[in-house]
Structure formats: structure tokens, C-alpha cells
Symmetry: C2
């Protein structure tokens, strides 16, 4: 078996994922937990990390590369932002060392778009991007990274030229939990997904995104007047928000650019269905694999290059 | 002093308003409370009503006309819906009597748009509409009734041809209370409103409503990157939602129709500012006066006509 070379960590707001990576790049161990930034800020970042390193018996001298919210101001150590436009490779060079650790722990920076009209930030997705797109990629790519805050990134010849965040996932969450529509979706978790209702709402919102906040209300009126099911209401809300997101993202993107979807699990299925329904061509890259590849690229640039020189 | 003729009640989800009206149409007394449908469904509708009638010493034999959520399925007595397209006058004839009361209590119906693509319902706003527009009005009117669920109604020669609900007020509420943007607006209640930020977001969302769910996120990124204030973030969220609402409402309305704004208080100020900023012509009618006028029109049609005949 190959020797452990470094540890890669994707440390989000509410999730923690760690991989022990061997000298040949293989995955020697993996940990997943809900100890994201919010939990770790209370428990202590160093302690949370050490617990997971111990669980995998990670050697005391191998370094750790981290991406995500651990580098936010309210995180472990602030890792700042690389400003757009920027090359993907610049992300690799901005890692910040965590002081006072027995081993070398570094956190990757986020990306910032400092425009007055469309200020935007990301943390964690830049590392997915790094793993999804080759640094020497040619042409224009529109990268879609769906989630709580979906990120749409424009990449031209390996340069990040701009990006936009859509609050799709979080809006779905607060609308279905805290608005009057929470009654409309009650019980939908126990029903099969209504892909028909999803597709209809998706197309309606994509065609007329200005009506999105009105279409949402039809989840209620559709139940009152047409007996729409809870699963139908859930799908209608999801389809409306995703349809409006795609319309907005493509409105500010060049025409004819191919979409690269970086997603896994439920979101992958949902967005693949959406792109097919809207006749948009796309290519999927697994989000987990992408962030791991991005972390590995950073680790290799920081540590393995030097090692091979010495 | 004129003798009391009837009692008018606007009974919403979370608010209760009652007026004692004299034979000459003058207001002899008024009550306002938070005993809306939600509270009254627990306490008992008849009991809540009687408490307020007693407080004004309303004679035991005068009738009560009610509009709003008291007529919903989960309200006092279900008052059904009048289907669009409909004349405004049809609302007057659909009142449902509450059984088992010592006095004559009637609840006005709501309006339903049973289209498959755009099902929609209203309860209470139809009575405001009745009070805002003369039944014999000529030409096309676009009526905007902002609120938790903003209603935009198209009226042509006294006929309600269609309407759309936008979840603007409720979305503002859940976003500023339950999403990550709750941090961005924290403290804004103690600051003066940022009308500049409101106008910029309003125009941006009106011009590109597809980007609304992305513009919302700039309330956060604007704070991280440009030091946007809490009041600025609050205004940005409000402006974005209202800008998208107006874009959507006017997209489905005929061009050149004049807007009739039925509003009072803070919402009146906000929407008047929005229409001025977008160079849209409008005319304002006080929402309180409109609902009272609508209730009076119904009371007169039901009781006073018969009285004058007898």
C-alpha cells in the first residue's frame, strides 16, 4: 500500500469531509460529518480536525490542505479572496498557513468579484472549479455548481472572468419551511417526486422569470382550486426557482457556451432533468471528485513540487 | 347623531378591523386588533366579534358584513369564490349568512381564477377592489394591492378579467428572518431607510427580473466587499422583490394601462417611490378607505336597498 502523503479537507458551513491521500494519489481513508464551520467554531477547529485525523491514524508529519468556510472571517483563519478576473492557477498560490499547529495546515482562499453592480464571493466552489476544469482549458465554459447558494462561473481559456450566486437552495428551504407554502408541501417527503409538475414550473419560470414570485403562489392556489398534491407543490416550487436561476445565469452568459454541471446526488439528478427539459447541452462532473481533485492539485503545487526538487 | 345602520368587518389572517357605520354612511366607531383568523379560530369567531360589538355598544339588531379570511375553509363559515372573469357587482350577491347568530352576519366571497396555468385566489382584496373602482368604470385598469401577497388585478369596463398574486411581502419576511441575509439586515430597524439602495435594486430587478435571486445575494456580498450597511441590505432586498414584482405584473398586463395603487402607510410610500423611480404613472387610493367603501357597498346592496323598498 502507498504511504499517506497529505490530507485534503472540504470544510463547509454545515459539513466536513476529509480524505487521506496516498503518494500515488489514491484515497487511503475518508471521513464525513456535520461538523461544519458553525459547529467547529464552537468545538474548536483544531480539535475537530485532530479527531478525524486520529480516526484514520494519519501520520503526525503529513500536511493538511483545507478549502471552504474554514477560511472565512468567522472561520478558523481568514484566507482572504483572490479577485476576478483571475487564472485558476492563482487559487493554488493563495493558501494561508494556520499558525501554532504541530503539522503544516493551509487554507485555500475564496474568489471575490469586486464589481459595484454585482459584488459576489465564493468559498469552496473555487476548489471544485479547479478540479473540474483543466488549468490549460481552451474556449468558454459556463460552470454550474448548484446548492444552497448556486454558483454560475464563466471561464474563458482558463481564466475566471466572472460569476453569479443564485440563492436557489436556501430560498427553497425558507419558503418550504417558513412561508404559507409550508402547508402546501406538508407530507411531500413521503411521496414520490412529481417530475411532471417540476418540468412545467421549470419551463414557465425559464420563459417568464419575472413571474417567478407569482408562480410560487400557484403551489397554494393550485391546491385550493385543482387539488395539486404536496409532492406537486414541492416540485412546483423547486422547478420555479431552478427555472428562474437558469434563465438568469444564461442571460448574463455568452450564447452557445456549453454548460459544465458540477454536482452529485439529488442535485445532479434535478439539474440534469432541468437541462434536458430546456434542451440545453451539458456535461456532468461529480462534485465530490471535483473538490478532491482541486484539493489535490493545491497540495501537489504546495508540497510535492518542493519535495521532488529536494 | 345619525343612528347605527350596520357593522363592517375586514377580517384578515392576522388582523381584525371593525367599523360601526351610521345610516348616513358616517363612521360612528372603529376597532382594530390582532385577532385575525388564526387567533379567532382558537378563541371563537362569534366571541371575538361580540367583544368588539359590545365595546362600541352596537345595537343588537343591526347586521354585520364581513370580508377576508373569515370566509376561508379554515375560517368561520366558508364563503366560496366568485370565478373570474366576473363583474365587480357579482361580489355583492355572493355573501353567505353565518348560521345560528342572533343578528344577521354575512361573509363576502373571494375571487378565484381557475386557469390551469395560473390558478389564483384572493380573499379580502376583492372588497378593496369593489371600493376602489366604480362598478360602471370604463376602460382598462391595472390595480396593484401590495402586501404579504401582493395582488395585481386587471379590470376592463368594470369586469375583473384576471389577476396575479406575487409573494413579495412574505418572501421579504422569510428571507430577512430565516435566511443567511438575516445577518445582513440585523440592526436595520434602528436606521433610516436607504432609499438610494432601494432605487438601484428596484431598477436592476425591474430591468433583469431573471437575476432577482442573484441580486438578493448581493446584500451579503455587498457587505463583505463594499461595506453595505444593514439598512442598505434591507432596502436592496425590498427593492429587488418589488422590482421583480412590477416587471412580472406589467409583463402580463396591457401596455399603457394606468396603475391604480390601493395601499396605505409604509407600503404606500414604498410603492409610490417605486413607480416614480420607474417612471410609471399611477394614482393612489387609500386601502383602508377602499375596503370600508367596498363593505359599505355590499351592506347597502344587501340590506339598505330592501329597507328603502319596504
Amino acid at each position: 500500500m502507498t504511504k499517506p502523503a497529505y490530507v485534503a479537507v472540504d470544510w463547509g458551513t454545515s459539513s466536513f469531509r476529509l480524505w487521506l491521500i496516498g503518494k500515488d494519489g489514491s484515497i487511503l481513508g475518508e471521513r464525513r460529518s456535520g461538523e461544519g464551520m458553525t459547529t467547529a467554531a464552537q468545538a474548536g477547529f483544531a480539535k475537530v480536525l485532530q479527531t478525524h485525523l486520529d480516526a484514520l491514524s494519519a501520520p503526525a508529519d503529513i500536511p493538511v490542505i483545507v478549502c471552504g468556510m474554514a477560511g472565512a472571517r468567522q472561520g478558523w483563519v481568514e484566507a482572504g479572496y483572490i479577485d476576478t478576473p483571475t487564472s485558476l492557477a492563482a487559487i493554488l498560490t493563495g493558501a494561508v498557513a494556520v499558525p501554532g499547529q504541530s503539522r503544516d495546515v493551509r487554507i485555500l482562499p475564496g474568489l471575490a468579484q469586486r464589481s459595484r453592480q454585482a459584488p459576489d464571493v465564493m468559498r469552496g466552489e473555487e476548489t471544485q472549479l479547479l478540479g473540474a476544469i483543466a488549468a490549460d482549458a481552451k474556449g468558454e465554459q459556463i460552470v454550474c455548481m448548484p446548492g444552497t447558494h448556486s454558483k454560475w462561473v464563466r471561464v474563458l481559456d482558463g481564466q475566471v472572468t466572472g460569476f453569479s450566486t443564485f440563492m436557489t437552495g436556501e430560498l427553497f428551504d425558507v419558503i418550504t419551511k417558513h412561508s404559507i407554502l409550508s402547508h402546501a408541501v406538508a407530507g411531500s417527503a413521503d411521496m414520490p417526486a412529481d417530475t411532471g409538475a417540476f418540468d412545467v414550473a421549470l419551463k414557465a419560470a425559464f420563459d417568464k422569470p419575472a413571474l417567478a414570485t407569482s408562480l410560487l403562489f400557484t403551489a397554494r392556489s393550485g391546491q385550493l382550486l385543482h387539488g395539486l398534491s404536496a409532492a406537486g407543490a414541492q416540485a412546483l416550487i423547486s422547478g420555479t426557482l431552478i427555472g428562474a436561476e437558469i434563465a438568469g445565469a444564461l442571460a448574463s452568459a455568452g450564447q452557445g457556451a456549453s454548460i459544465m454541471l458540477v454536482a452529485s446526488g439529488r442535485l445532479q439528478t434535478l439539474y440534469e432533468d432541468a437541462f434536458r427539459t430546456l434542451s440545453l447541452s451539458y456535461k456532468t462532473i461529480d462534485a465530490d471528485a471535483a473538490v478532491r481533485r482541486g484539493l489535490s492539485a493545491a497540495a501537489e503545487a504546495i508540497w510535492l513540487k518542493n519535495e521532488s526538487k529536494s
